[in-house]
Symmetry: C2
Subunit: 246 residues, 2 copies
């Protein structure tokens, strides 16, 4: 691992080799020193290692290779259940069944997930965030028996890398950094900022393979199309209502 | 910095000494190698260094000492504006004005903020997450001129530590880790898990100072009371509507 983790990359291809539970425990325990709102630690991590359970969980992640091949999947949840129970048992009335509390707990959970990622990679493990966690969040909640005020917000496939992953391109710093105020760039500038992305070899291949005329169309028409975003948004809001966060 | 960052702690007390912009830039650029959904990099970072702007921003954070004393405040935003503009300029129709897209961009932004935290601390800087960012998110959006599809979701006060911060207590690993399924603990177990927190010296002091009978009441009655959570939730949902994420 180089200074600042700048050579890191996502691993999707894992060796068929177990990750000991004791190692997972050390990583989680260390990651729990990451920042957390008001020291409330509004997260829970479900560790999935049993083959049958992994198969069922991988299905909710559309059977993507990283989910199928990883010996461990961690599902990191926004959790106000534990904290609220402690409040009630301490003669205090919790008021965390609302949207702010969901956002606060989500932030805590994502901070933890990123710290787990960093520490796991320092141990030589490979990690892949499964962005699909939000797509089937209700089904995942069922599989993992999540109670009210607990919602899955991040999932990590973890294992020993089978190969050295390719580092993909990133936007230049100036695209994402603004001094003092948000700077809405000119059209020409926006296109310049995305130039490296548009011209990156593998991206050009995706465009051709999908019969599109621009990389952006691969995102809007194939990978993250509006109709799907709208449908999943509705399902997510339903889940937040069901879990008492809305 | 020890192995795994397990001795880290939040810094709220900063030396009156500048953090060079070049250092901030190196940290941000390295942090931008952190995972991001579909490599879309759905975040922006607003760097606030000018004294007048810092004062105005600190006010939105209730003038907490860390916000007033830090030479730099970073406001990390969920940002689907830049990506959507690139789509439109590339003959693609973006469909990211919905709740899923807000949550996806929020996740990207929080991952980035945590990676910034880790790297800044490796450089010897101190950091303090300003959880207050959600409380006055609309006012912060105004101050920083945030356009549609851009919402502040994390804020970091950064500077050189003036003293060695105290490490606070954390829950034991078993409170937050679940094997295969969520384990809803017995009442007795919940109280046992929070025992160290209830008995931690400074926490016992807060209880006495606030005239409460339990630590949980400090959270429910003083720090994060229901009425405030409900009010901020409403304001946040209004902001998401205003910024076209809902």
């Amino acid at each position: 691992m180089d200074k600042y983790f700048s050579s890191r990359a996502t691993v999707r291809d894992f060796r068929n080799e177990d990750v000991p539970l004791s190692l997972i425990e050390s990583i989680l325990e260390a990651a729990m020193r990451a920042p957390t709102c008001g020291n409330m630690q509004l997260y829970s991590v479900i560790v999935t290692r049993e083959p049958e359970a992994r198969r069922a969980l991988a299905e909710t992640h559309f059977n993507q290779p990283a989910a199928i091949g990883a010996p461990v999947i961690l599902t990191i949840c926004a959790d106000f259940n534990r904290f609220s129970r402690w409040c009630r048992l301490s003669d205090a009335k919790p008021g965390y069944d609302n949207f702010l509390s969901f956002l606060t707990a989500t932030t805590d959970a994502v901070i933890l997930a990123q710290q787990i990622t960093t520490i796991a990679e320092m141990e030589g493990l490979g990690t892949c965030w499964l962005g699909t966690v939000t797509y089937n969040a209700a089904r995942i909640s069922e599989l993992l028996s999540l109670p009210d005020l607990v919602v899955p917000v991040a999932a990590l496939a973890i294992g020993w890398p089978a190969s050295t992953p390719e580092r993909c391109e990133r936007l230049p710093l100036e695209a994402c950094m603004h001094l003092e105020r948000y700077r809405d760039d000119s059209d020409a500038k926006v296109m310049e900022l995305f130039k490296a992305k548009d011209e990156f070899g593998p991206n050009a291949r995706f465009v051709a393979e999908n019969g599109k005329t621009s990389l952006a169309q691969v995102f809007t028409d194939v990978r993250y199309p509006e109709a799907m975003n709208v449908e999943v948004s509705k399902a997510l809001l339903d889940l937040l209502r069901d879990k008492k966060f809305l």
